[in-house]
Symmetry: C2
Subunit: 347 residues, 2 copies
């Protein structure tokens, strides 16, 4: 029975814990210094506060002081914290990670290192290199996975991306169950680009929904054109950074954008903008409700990534730059800005 330590007891870490129990794994779930109330609920058999699903009694919970115990003798370590927490948690867990057969990653985002925007696996590699620690293979996990459904054993498709295709296949087989089904790819870059980008683009999808609320008229044509342009831009950006163009057309791009556009805070934020609350006002309202909108911090990092690493494709990403105008510059004519970005230019 493979043994895993999942670092981060939030929605995705806990959802994955249940999925891996179903697949027959021995699961340690470590909560960070921010997760005590989550571990309380898990220990007491109450539904997880973030996803309203009970975490299996077979999962062994650990509190932040128990990191060393949680990592003891595991085959796989999973980093499953918010992207801002990845550097610190990685550093803390490095000794355990170094002994494992693989490091999995469900965190989604970009990592600025000395002013340069890196994809998370490369950020983790730079941390390990600085500490002179040799890492096992990294497996990037993405795809259309709402954690609550994953935890509840609802049918879920996901994808494991590892530079070594054999490693991706090995774990995609080992972690598979009836409900949690896994594709394997060697396209780490494609998986890691789509994961945070789709949060940015889901805000834009939400705007089309909000325009319907504001005007009383459906804007389905605009929403579909936005979806189409988002997929195109994810493929263009990931390809420019060395990925397989097909990855954005599969589970990490098309699939994950679909699920992220159905519900979630990025979409809700977009709906508020579309309704006319103003990008800044809407963000403040959500912050007061303690609702994090992942796409907002990802947006300037994505723009920096493009300008540092793929400036030649700037002009081919009109929706990304429209997102900047709408979210960061809070332009009043956001509906026209969105439409201009996603409607085909004159051929």
């Amino acid at each position: 029975m493979p043994k895993v330590a999942i670092l981060g007891a939030g929605a995705m870490g806990s959802g994955l814990a249940n999925a891996l129990v179903e697949a027959g794994w021995d699961v340690n779930l470590w909560g960070t210094w921010l997760d005590d109330h989550l571990i309380d609920a898990i220990e007491e058999g109450r539904p997880h506060p973030r996803i309203n699903v009970v975490i299996s009694g077979k999962v062994r919970p650990f509190r932040s002081a128990g990191l060393e115990d949680a990592l003891d003798g595991v085959d796989v370590v999973v980093v499953s914290v918010a992207s801002q927490g990845v550097p610190k948690v990685t550093e803390m867990a490095l000794p355990g990670i170094a002994k494992a057969k693989a490091l999995w990653l469900t965190s989604k985002g970009f990592m600025p290192v000395d002013g340069k925007i890196l994809l998370l696996p490369d950020g983790i590699r730079s941390i390990a290199k600085a500490a002179d620690v040799e890492l096992p293979p990294i497996v990037a996990i993405a795809g259309p996975v709402k954690a609550n459904e994953c935890a509840a054993g609802e049918p879920t498709a996901t994808i494991f991306g590892c530079k070594s295709r054999d490693v991706a296949v090995e774990f995609a087989r080992a972690a598979r169950s009836e409900h949690y089904c896994i594709e394997a790819t060697d396209d780490e870059v494609g998986v890691e680009i789509c994961a945070p980008m789709k949060n940015v683009y889901a805000i834009m999808l939400g705007i089309a929904d909000g325009l319907e609320e504001k005007t009383g008229k459906p804007h389905h044509n605009l929403k579909a054109a936005t979806f189409n342009e988002a997929v195109r831009e994810m493929s263009i950006l990931s390809t420019a950074l060395g990925a397989d163009p097909a990855t954005a057309y599969g589970l990490p791009g098309v699939g994950d954008l679909e699920v992220t556009g159905l519900s979630g805070r990025n979409k809700v934020y977009g709906v508020r903008i579309g309704r006319g609350e103003g990008a800044k006002g809407a963000l403040q309202a959500m912050t007061e409700l303690e609702q994090t909108v992942e796409g907002v911090p990802a947006l300037p990092l994505a723009i920096s990534l493009v300008e540092q690493s793929a400036p030649q494709i700037k002009d081919r990403l009109p929706l990304l730059y429209a997102a900047r105008q709408i979210v960061e510059e809070d332009v009043p004519d956001y509906a026209a800005v969105l439409a201009r970005a996603v409607l085909p230019p004159k051929p």
Copy 2:
């Protein structure tokens, strides 16, 4: 000012009429023998009964007896009737079509000719050949266009596909307006495959929504996996028939599937199945409400097309064959059949 005769005063023909008026075209709109009540509304300036939008007073309506007048001196003829009506309307209009510079096609479907399933443009070509009439270039029109929004001047992205890329570009420029924006492609086959297939797949998307109603639990992961598999299968099928794989990843595939999954009768039919009404019972209920579900007649034609023209890819279309089991065989375990078709197999 280019002059067009749109044949068929239903939702899409009338929506296109308004869009072309906005682009400065001179528009004749001909109603078939089934469209008299639609022409009544247009003549009286009432909202079009199918889309609840007033058709521009600049559109000249014609009744079925006035086909010859409607076709007189036009540059472009648009066939915009239900796919079953395409052969008859094409035959009736052939003299006018032969004199035009192009034949546009918004109808979506397949055409059985002597037992062989053809794409609509090839079906039209076979009709013209039998009548010894030389056709102008055919422009296939698809993409995420809800006719009501198109008619109302809401932002809309669409695509014109013609074997001659120059012709596609010429008309994509000429018909463009601020709200109706057009991509051009030379991939007629890709456009024509996606148009009817997405109706079939939208039924499957609806099932995921219906399962949420039935169980009280969201099935967003399943819906997103279904969306992803539908796009993949549209790309596989169109590629096998000679199309560019990218077409299914653009407006005709990804874009149109998105809009078709948001609303419309194919999706509603799927929701009813997902809720547990049974495929046959749900179809009967919708038929009694005079609600046509385009994906239902398209499904067996799509299966025949695959088995006649691309039998080597049968095994790569599990969602299409699951649709057959669910819609035609009315299997009671439709939720499991859908999940098996769209979740990744063991790698």
